[in-house]
């Protein structure tokens, strides 16, 4: 009888120990899985972040390089037109407008969606069609910068234009 009781006790102890072992193993497994998932997530995040950063850097560099090329090309066109204007030295507004018209034709500004404009000391601007109103951003010219570029929008439409100006005032 005593033996039976003792064997039952030892059986219970073994049983408890085995359950505990299973629990420990499962817990370790869970901790392991959770740890792995956490590591995996942060690894993936870091990798994705690094990858995206690198892509963005690459795209931005390409964009900037492209933009700089375009801007440089526009400045070259502006300088070129200015040299021709200095060479031509029109003596009247009519001659000046004729020069602008001819220049626009020779450079094919229409198909490039470009326009040739000039601004006088008051801030009034002129296109090949003649005198227009006041340049909205004329305050940029107040300090007589050697050259300046800026983006402008039309007043009643969401249409942007980029201006490139060289200063003739001091020549």
């Amino acid at each position: 009888m005593k033996k039976t009781v003792s064997s039952r006790r030892s059986g219970k102890i073994e049983y408890s120990q085995s359950i505990l072992s299973i629990a420990v193993v499962i817990l370790l497994a869970i901790v392991g899985v959770a740890g792995f998932l956490k590591f995996y997530h942060s690894y993936i995040d870091e990798t994705l972040y690094a990858e995206r950063l690198s892509q963005m850097r690459e795209v931005t560099m390409q964009l900037y390089a492209g933009l700089e090329d375009v801007v440089e090309s526009q400045w070259r066109k502006t300088s070129d037109s200015c040299r021709k204007l200095l060479d031509k030295k029109p003596e009247s507004q009519e001659e000046f407008l004729h020069f602008m018209e001819k220049q626009a034709y020779l450079e094919d500004f229409d198909s490039l969606q470009m326009d040739f404009i000039a601004v006088d000391q008051d801030g009034k601007y002129y296109t090949k069609s003649g005198a227009q109103g006041l340049l909205t951003e004329r305050e940029y010219l107040a300090s007589s910068p050697e050259r300046i570029s800026f983006v402008s929008n039309l007043l009643t439409y969401d249409e942007s234009r980029m201006f490139f100006f060289r200063n003739f005032r001091n020549r």
Binding site: I19, A23, I26, I30, V33, A34, L37, Q121, D122, G123, K124, Y125, A131, Q132, G133, L134, L135, T136, R138, E139, L141, A142, V151, S152, N153, L154, L155, T156, Y157, D158, S160
Partner: protein
């Protein structure tokens, strides 16, 4: 066996709980998001001032999208909107969402007063060039609302019927003027109700010459700094002398009832006048208008510098206090309101009756064929524009404007106008105003109504005063709130003419009016309030009388009234006392070195 099952179940639960632990955070976030969209939530109140805007339609738009938002409107329909809004800011009494009429980035400490709006999605809805005008150190603290192009209104029907051509230059206008007079019509009427208009018309005409050029802009900056004056600058003297040509031709005159813009507009609508210089755009949409009215620019001598003057009607910003700890919900709600405001629908709802005469600074905005500006779009886009001149000049606008009004009416010469610039330059450079008293503790709207009642009634020896007030009322059908009563408050600061005019219903130029009514009728009016003809709601009266005075039902009293319906005007035989409201208020307030609510007593 049961224990095994229990342990297995427990472990499974633990495992499931652990495995799902990662998901729980995102679920709780979702619950928070759901809560913010809960229509029954008790969100904190956010305040928004509304200078001369009936916000009822806008409030509906906000409620439609965000029903949980508690938006409190603080209306202002007084006679000096710009000063009142600015005083609000100077005294730290700004609401959460703050509207102002004029704004120059950096003139005051924007970074200390407002949240930077540059990184919010709704800011991306605005056209880039409009944003550039309000950008300060890469930040955006105020966003522009709709804007007007101001010019000269002309009666197109009259022009066409007589076979006249619209003048394209001042020279052409000089040729047209005698023909108009010969035909028996009036050449031009001017709206001269406020001194600010005098200053504005002067600048608008000067913008057709030197003032709007690059050198003119530099001169303005130098004048505001006190580095130059008018009489020493030949270009600006020559520029201001352009006024003589406009007056000699008859474009500047004091014909009709120039001190009442509404009457002047009504006279124009009759159809016997060709031009109107003033700020009333789109007269064709006015009731009773049968003729077609259009807009032309201020004309330069040979037409090469004709200008429309661009004026942004309102700017809006968010009070920086919304960014403080504990205000997270208020900030979220205020951003939602800004989001609604930054749409074409939202912006148009601020002024449903002005849709055709406003240009919106939004990318989605289109100028339709029926727009008031449809036939001048080319001119607007080709640079025939100048900016409205106001900011920086605030302290000198009234004295210069008053001299200009005298000039327009023929009571002063152009030399007087030039002198007015130079004599008042110190008000700008020293940033000072002549004050008659100093408020030490804020006087709210009802207290101001009491103050106005006392000083008006005393000035005309009336028995009492009935002063209507302007609390917020939801009324979609009304064009505006109550502008005949007291609107706004007096803030703790020096009180100059500008502050007085901001609260008195008589404004700069109107006299005190009285009616004679029985005590019974007065009591009835207190009950019913002021019923404006174009509003379906009424506005409360504040009855002001000597301490302890009782009104007998059958006794007839002479009382000052601010806000009277046509019926009350008739039955009370309304009388103009000939006493200027501004003078009466100034004389009364000058008795006090300092002023607080306890001083507002009629003993």
């Amino acid at each position: 066996m049961k224990r095994k099952k229990f342990i297995a179940w427990a472990l499974t639960t633990v495992c499931t709980a652990l495995m799902l632990a990662g998901c729980s955070a995102s679920e709780s976030q979702n619950q928070t998001a759901d809560k913010s969209a809960d229509a029954s939530s008790d969100h904190p109140v956010i305040t928004m001032n509304a200078p001369y805007r009936n916000m009822s339609t806008f409030v509906d738009k906000v409620k439609e999208k965000y029903p949980e938002i508690n938006l409190e409107i603080i209306p202002y329909n007084g006679q000096n909107t710009s000063t009142y809004m600015l005083d609000m800011r100077k005294c730290g009494e700004m609401p959460d969402i703050y509207f102002i009429t004029y704004y120059t980035p950096g003139r005051f400490d924007d970074e200390a007063d407002f949240l930077d709006l540059s990184s919010y999605d709704f800011t991306g809805e605005y056209v880039q060039s409009r944003l550039r005008e309000v950008t300060l150190n890469s930040g955006i603290y105020m966003l522009p609302m709709g804007y007007n192009a101001l010019g000269i209104t002309y009666n197109k029907t009259l022009l066409d019927e007589n076979g006249w051509e619209l003048p394209d230059s001042f020279k052409e206008l000089e040729e047209l003027a005698p023909k108009v007079e010969e035909a028996g019509y009036t050449l031009c009427l001017d709206q001269l109700q406020y001194p600010g208009f005098g200053f504005q018309f002067l600048c608008n005409i000067a913008d057709t010459g030197f003032l709007s050029t690059i050198d003119g802009q530099k001169w303005q900056e130098a004048f505001l700094k006190g580095e130059v004056n008018v009489s020493d600058t030949p270009d600006i003297v020559e520029n201001i002398k352009l006024l003589d040509k406009w007056r000699d031709l008859g474009m500047l005159n004091g014909n009709g009832t120039p001190d009442n813009d509404t009457d002047t507009k009504a006279e124009m609508i009759k159809g016997n006048t060709l031009f109107l210089i003033g700020n009333s755009n789109d007269l064709s949409s006015e009731s009773g208008a049968e003729d077609e009215f259009r807009l032309m620019p201020y004309l330069s001598e040979d037409g090469d510098q004709n200008v429309f003057v661009l004026n942004v009607s309102r700017y809006v910003g968010l009070n920086k206090k919304l960014g403080e700890e504990g205000n997270e919900q208020k900030l979220e709600d205020a951003l939602h309101v800004m989001e609604v405001l930054s749409t074409v629908d939202g912006m148009e709802s601020l002024e449903p009756s002005q849709v055709n005469s406003r240009l919106l600074p939004l990318k989605d905005a289109k100028v339709g064929e029926d727009s008031y500006y449809a036939d001048v779009l080319d001119e607007l886009n080709s640079g025939h524009t100048a900016s409205f001149i106001y900011t920086g000049w605030e302290n000198a606008i009234v004295p210069i404007g008053e001299t200009m009004l005298d000039y327009i009416k023929g009571n002063a010469e152009v030399e007087d106008v030039i002198k007015a610039f130079d004599d008042n330059q110190h008000l700008i450079t020293e940033d000072t105003m002549d004050t008659c008293t100093t408020v030490t503790e804020m006087l709210d709207m009802d207290t101001c109504a009491k103050l106005v009642g006392i000083c008006f009634a005393k000035a005309v020896n009336a028995d009492a005063a009935l002063i209507s007030t302007n609390p917020w009322r939801y009324d979609k059908d009304a064009y505006e709130m109550n502008r005949e009563g007291v609107s706004g408050a007096l803030f703790p600061m020096g009180v100059s003419d500008q502050e007085i005019v901001s609260i008195i219903p008589t404004g700069w130029t109107n006299n005190i009016q009285t009616v004679t009514l029985t005590g019974k009728r007065i009591k009835e009016l207190i009950e019913s309030g002021y019923e404006r003809s174009d509003n379906s709601v009424s506005f409360p009266y504040v009855l002001v009388s000597k301490e302890g005075m009782e009104f007998e039902d059958d006794t007839v009293y002479t009382i000052v009234i601010c806000g009277a319906s046509d019926e009350v005007k008739e039955e009370g035989n309304i009388q103009d006392t000939g006493v200027l409201g501004l003078d009466a208020a100034k004389a009364y307030l000058s008795q006090f070195k300092t002023l607080s609510p306890k001083d507002i007593v009629w003993e």
